[in-house]
């Protein structure tokens, strides 16, 4: 183990951890009035981590990646890509936080610190090449998430969300750990490479069980059907900035790790997990589309929309080709922009007294009162539905293209048909905010920070986003190729 190299590769996580610890001291001595300052400092720490990781990603000296800490951590383009996405999502969620908690009460400096530690956990997850690192990162992320979900102590819904997430999440972690122990028991190794070598020539019953249990655990973390039940309740109950965080960063991390595990560790046994992923993909798309139709709360609707989107992402994974893995990364990038934008827009929906509006009916005709906000929501919804020329279309396009290239025409056809069903409820929201009689409830002012994030997200998903296509696809291809090495 080369200590210098190890420290060099893990510097972003170590740096974030150290800044989290220092900020914890600031919070402990300064009290609640330091909340805003701690948030700003956390954002700058995350920016530093983004810069450092970008250097690792584009620097030709590290093109081949490398292992750290005696083969439990791997720095490669796939991990760096996912990490940058995670850090940026965390930055976006932190920037919009102060105003929300200052208006609704309960702002404390620990919020930003827990988000920082959560980001460290996610970064470890996506860089892990050992089941132990993976589980440690996952637990760090999950524990932070449980705390964040119930962060609004005065709100009963938030406490309920935290408790539900905690109980179900602990169960899912247990299932995942059980699967890992089976895989370890039947292969004799916890490192991805060791497992892959052991499973090279067929796998035993026990290892198959282990793989299935592990996939079930991951399906819970990415909220794929049939492990999606917690999503609407948690997304509705958690404070909106936390919901924005849940629907972006942890989802990126969990999808990235699922992709790495499936294509790298179990890369020789595609036949075992492919049918599970295909089922989860189709079920998520259909349940996400049908479940959203009856919702009256915008946060619940977006929760079903996230289930629906996870289905599309899994189609890319089901293809089990480099193009499919690259499509997963491209879709994730666009999804982060859409989802973050949508939840920030929800955060900006307030009545004249400044309290949050979550009811879809109250948004009726808001284009008269808040034209810019209404248009942003309009475009975000159309982009989530995947309507060209918005950038959301491109994500769906690459995913279906990968599926068709892998001869999964039926899967792609069902996916496209279900995405038409999904378009219904997005269009319904558009119709309500644009054409209905004004309910006259939307008012209030939003901070500069919220507008900035919303406008950046809207720009990314607007037709201008197509400028990003070629660098994005080049990076995603390079990252995806790391999962397909020959042993």
């Amino acid at each position: 183990m080369n200590l210098d190299i190890s420290l060099y590769f893990t510097a972003p996580e170590i740096g974030l951890t150290i800044s989290g610890l220092l900020l914890l001291l600031v919070a402990a001595f300064g009290g609640d009035k330091t909340a805003r300052m701690v948030t700003i400092l956390s954002v700058s720490a995350l920016f530093g981590a983004v810069a450092y990781t970008t250097n690792l990603l584009v620097n030709p000296a590290f093109e081949l990646g490398g292992e750290a800490w005696a083969g439990i951590y791997r720095m490669d383009a796939f991990g760096s890509f996912a990490k940058i996405l995670i850090y940026i999502a965390a930055i976006g969620c932190l920037i919009v936080t102060p105003r929300f908690f200052e208006e609704n009460g309960g702002y404390r400096p620990e919020y930003a610190i827990v988000v920082l530690f959560s980001a460290v956990g996610m970064a470890l997850m996506v860089s892990a090449v050992n089941l132990m690192t993976l589980y440690m990162g996952l637990e760090l992320m999950s524990l932070s998430s449980y705390v964040l979900a119930s962060f609004s102590r005065s709100d009963n819904r938030s406490a309920e969300a935290g408790l539900k997430y905690f109980v179900l999440g602990a169960l899912a972690s247990g299932i995942l750990l059980y699967g890992m122990s089976l895989v370890y028991g039947f292969t004799g190794s916890t490192s991805y490479l060791g497992i892959r070598l052991a499973l090279q020539d067929g796998l035993s019953m026990g290892a198959t069980f282990g793989i299935v249990f592990m996939l079930a655990g991951f399906a819970f973390k990415i909220a794929a059907v049939p492990f999606h039940m917690w999503t609407p309740d948690v997304y509705e109950g958690a404070p909106t900035p936390v919901t924005a965080f849940f629907s972006t960063a942890p989802k990126v991390a969990a999808v990235a790790i699922l992709t790495r595990i499936s294509l790298d560790t179990f890369g020789e046994n595609v036949i075992v997990w492919q049918q599970i992923v295909i089922f989860a993909a189709l079920a998520s798309i259909v349940v996400g589309a049908l479940g959203a139709i009856g919702q009256t709360n915008i946060k619940r609707l977006l929760a079903y929309s996230s289930i629906n989107n996870v289905g599309f992402i899994l189609i890319g994974l089901a293809a089990a080709t480099p193009a499919g893995a690259s499509a997963v990364l491209v879709y994730l990038t666009i999804y982060v922009a859409m989802s973050l934008g949508a939840f920030v827009a929800v955060m900006m929906l307030k009545d004249a007294q400044g309290s949050q509006i979550e009811n879809i009916a109250s948004m009726a005709g808001m284009v008269r009162e808040k034209p810019l906000l209404a248009w942003c929501i309009f475009f975000l919804m159309l982009s989530l539905a995947g309507i060209p020329p918005l950038f959301g279309f491109y994500g769906k396009f690459v995913v279906f293209q990968a599926a068709v290239q892998a001869d999964m025409i039926i899967l792609a056809a069902i996916g496209i048909a279900a995405s038409v069903i999904g378009a219904f409820y997005y269009l319904k929201v558009c119709k309500i905010i644009m054409f209905d009689e004004p309910a006259g409830e939307v008012g209030g002012e939003s901070s500069m920070a919220n507008w900035t994030i919303l406008l950046i997200c809207s720009l990314v998903i607007s037709p201008l986003g197509w400028i990003l296509t070629s660098p994005l696809i080049a990076l995603a291809n390079r990252a995806a190729n790391f999962l397909f090495f020959v042993i």
């Binding site: 827990v114 760090l140 932070s144 705390v147 935290g162």
Partner: protein, 207 residues
């Protein structure tokens, strides 16, 4: 030979007491059966030559069970008077259980002296080096090869602690009941809180 015998003794007792944990009507009895199950699991660990894990099982789990015990006693309304009533009646049974435990201890020690059971490993790479004790081997891995994960585990515990404090700690305003002034608490000296008295015989004490 003695190892096999000890293995079956410990294993059957683990399973038996685990069944009793869920079958026992009285929650306090459940907790006691749980302790028995942990002790026997520790015995199994001793048999395979993992003394360190056996020790951890006893120290950590029995410690945790003590806390669990407190919870059970505090949260459930148990009539202790009724429980004590059967003390004399159950005394022979208690002696029997104690004897079995003593026998186990004896068998376990003899089996340990006869050498650990050889478990199958995929290759020899995971086996401990000769002449190195368990604790040394675990320590070398934990603080050497896996030091990074060890630190991550520390951060996980830290996050759990932050979470527990953030979600439950409430700063009460100054003057309100339950307001905590840490400086005042630290400044407090023994002289402020205690008085030495030399009471005369046959007379009370004035406070």
């Amino acid at each position: 030979m003695i190892q096999t015998l000890a293995f079956y003794l410990f294993a059957s007792l683990v399973i038996g007491s685990a069944v009793m944990v869920i079958m026992a009507r009285n929650p306090v009895h459940s907790v006691l059966w749980l302790i028995l199950a942990f002790f026997n699991a520790a015995g199994l660990m001793v048999l395979v030559g993992a003394e360190f894990i056996a020790m951890l099982l006893v120290i950590v789990y029995v410690g945790a069970v003590a806390v669990l015990f407190l919870f059970v006693v505090m949260m459930l309304n148990i009539d202790f008077a009724e429980m004590r009533a059967g003390f004399i009646k159950n005394f022979p049974l208690g002696i029997l259980v104690a004897l079995i435990l003593f026998l186990e201890l004896f068998v376990g020690l003899v089996a340990y002296g006869a050498g650990g059971i050889q478990l199958g490993t995929p290759d020899g790479s995971a086996a401990a080096r000769m002449g190195q004790s368990n604790i040394e081997a675990v320590g070398a891995l934990l603080y050497g090869k896996y030091v990074f994960l060890f630190e991550v585990a520390g951060i996980i515990l830290l996050v759990a602690m932050i979470g527990a404090i953030v979600l439950t700690h409430r700063q009460r305003p100054k003057g309100a009941r339950g307001h905590q002034d840490i400086g005042k608490q630290i400044r407090r000296r023994p002289d402020d809180a205690t008085v030495m008295k030399q009471p005369n015989i046959g007379k009370g004490v004035e406070l």
